[in-house]
Symmetry: none
Subunit: 409 residues, 2 copies
């Protein structure tokens, strides 16, 4: 079933409002075993007619959001009538719904709202409990020029979402016939690159019948997406796991920081952080996770050398002898944070974010990470991520969170 989505709204193209409808519908449709073949955003006004005319030619179903309001630039109804050849008439039931919406709120319906009751002849009116604009479903048989089902849905999420569940989903299920046996399995990795996957497992994955493989590479993270029936996905999963288990963050779509907080909680461990080059980003990521206060004790952002000495007890001689960016200083920072905070586990990072501060021996992008636990040797690792300042901070925080993940075990 070829499905296209058209989102209308000038604010989406000006970038003042983020278009979240496309992604939201994508997830909901996938749950029904369906996929969006194309998503189009057009400004308010006449552009919608040409976009809709093109989409119906290619599609079995077109879903349009927005443009059902009472003002002059809300022209989705009119565009649909023109494209399908179906006449618009005032629907009595729809009008009563709109009048009722105002009556419940002790308001009088403005004359402009009357046009929201106009519906193409033969269409289903989809009751909108949360706004004045009813949704509209035009079955394929009504569409005089191309047999394509068309849903017109309101733009505001609090109107769109319930209307989708109540009125759109049952119709899509009926149209799609038997429910799909397709599932999606996601695996999130760090410390390994997309090209490593291609070289190591792509050929093997390609031998599994009916398995669709997709990658999404982010900074210091690769998401592997397996789509197919359960058997195909589990075969693919086994191959990826065999090759890269060590680098696997999770298989539930959660962030690395949420995974770390989960692991700390289930291991009954508390965390402290000593950050230099990441400047608080690791702590900020940890505290992005709701409930992180259960496991996160304290963070120290010791940017200046004096702060490393005073707050974390780093030995001034180590700073002198090895420099602030060194394995020894990272180790002393982690041990200092462990002792000072009383946490069960402490991680530290010290490096050169750039653009200034690099040298031939220690170029921009170098960082040392240490993880200290009670009664255990401190683990120190080095990373090299020559990126712009923010990219470095992101990659370095990712590497540090991964070291914490590995230390928890």
């Amino acid at each position: 079933m070829h499905i296209e989505v058209i989102n209308t709204g000038s604010e989406l193209l000006l970038g003042t409002t983020q278009n979240t409808h496309g992604g939201w519908l994508g997830r909901e449709l996938f749950r029904l075993g369906l996929r969006i073949a194309r998503q189009v955003t057009v400004p308010d006004g006449e552009a919608i007619e040409s976009a809709l005319a093109e989409s119906v030619k290619r599609s079995d179903i077109v879903i349009v959001t927005g443009g059902l309001g009472p003002t002059s630039d809300d022209v989705t109804r009119e565009a649909c009538a023109k494209v399908t050849g179906a006449e618009l008439i005032e629907d009595e039931a729809a009008l009563r719904c709109i009048e009722q919406f105002f009556a419940i709120r002790n308001k009088i319906m403005a004359p402009d709202n009357r046009k929201q009751a106009e519906v193409p002849v033969g269409a289903d009116v989809l009751t909108n409990k949360n706004g004045t604009a009813p949704g509209i479903y035009l079955p394929a048989r009504i569409n005089q020029l191309h047999p394509c089902g068309i849903f017109l849905l309101p733009g505001p999420p609090r109107e769109l979402y319930p209307l989708f569940f109540d009125e759109v989903e049952p119709r899509l299920r009926a149209l799609a016939g038997v429910q799909s046996n397709q599932i999606m399995h996601e695996m999130k990795f760090t410390g390994v690159g997309e090209s490593d996957f291609h070289q190591a497992i792509d050929a093997q994955l390609a031998t599994i019948p009916g398995l669709e493989v997709g990658y999404c590479a982010r900074i210091a993270e690769v998401d592997l997406r397996l789509i197919g029936d359960e058997e195909a996905c589990m075969k693919g999963r086994a191959i990826a796991f065999e090759a890269f288990a060590e680098y696997l963050i999770n298989e539930n779509g959660a962030s690395l920081e949420a995974t770390v907080v989960d692991k700390l909680r289930s291991s009954n461990l508390t965390l402290a952080l000593a950050e230099s080059c990441t400047g608080g980003l690791i702590s900020s990521r940890i505290t992005d996770v709701p409930g992180s206060s259960d496991v996160f004790m304290e963070g120290y952002i010791t940017y200046a050398n004096e702060a490393k000495i005073r707050t974390l007890g780093v030995n001034p001689e180590s700073l002198e002898k090895f420099g602030a960016v060194s394995a020894e200083v990272a180790r002393e920072m982690a041990v200092g944070a462990l002792q000072r905070s009383g946490a069960d586990l402490a991680a530290s990072i010290t490096g050169i974010a750039g653009p200034g501060g690099g040298s031939p021996e220690k170029p921009v992008g170098t960082a040392w990470i240490a993880v200290a636990c009670k009664n255990q040797p401190t683990i120190v690792t080095c990373i090299f991520q020559p990126r712009d300042r923010n990219g470095f901070k992101k990659a370095a925080s990712q590497a540090a969170l991964d070291q914490i993940r590995r230390a928890i075990g």
Copy 2:
């Protein structure tokens, strides 16, 4: 100039990744006085060719993001060659750039990456400093079937954004022939909402001939854009300044954190931060600014009560009597950070980020901010930003940075 944007990536249509490129490009193009007429999202693979073929027929410029990687589903280059009739050839300079990208990282280029150096004959190669895939610009004259300029840009934001500023923006400015007497004046405000501007100054601004006014509202920030000749912009600027001078962050497009770092440096002041509810985000934003190590001494993320007592010297009785989220504890945190760090100025924040932890007296979204300076009374303010957790952290960090800005004077 009719501009269309095509974003490629199955993850965007599956909803596993939010499509932020459309909105981002919309804002950047608006800054240049340009608008996106249509935005299209297609999955990886062959769908891009038909989408591109349709867009070039309607457009003067088409911007494509994504699909320039080394794998088999990265087919943007091939689609562009087919649609335009331009042959793909390996570009030596592009190949050297890719080889260099790996060499700098002490890695060997995989054979697959070689295809990233393939470029349509006659196209400009746009150097990508942050990834292996160079961008491509195909001038309209090269396009054998329809005269339409085509930009092919990498998908990852870290690669896309700098490439846009360095290579795309100058070409678009030249193509658009931006009138030499047109300027854009940007003013960035915080602590005041977009509707305040509408009510206070929109009618006045509308009387200035030839002035185009645009707003961009972000979390706890409003950007006012004035486009017109110098005289019109300065008249508009005077009106906005008169009404909202107190809330003005800057007029140079810089971030609030960069403005704070600048002000600290020019006032020869150093900063320390004590964060609870923002969990390191304020420190991270400060250290996003290159050269912030000149002014930023140290940050303390005292999430647990014990950390507030132990590290910042907060009085346990104050915590008992007033609670961790209180004016008194905020004050003691700032004073403690000032004394402990030896900085000239210290700011603190303590609040309830949610979703848990709220109460009728102190609902989620409440935070106290204190700013302490040597030999000066500590200033304490309260904010209320009931948002989701990340929105709260962003708004609270914004408010704290603004208090620091005001304290520097």
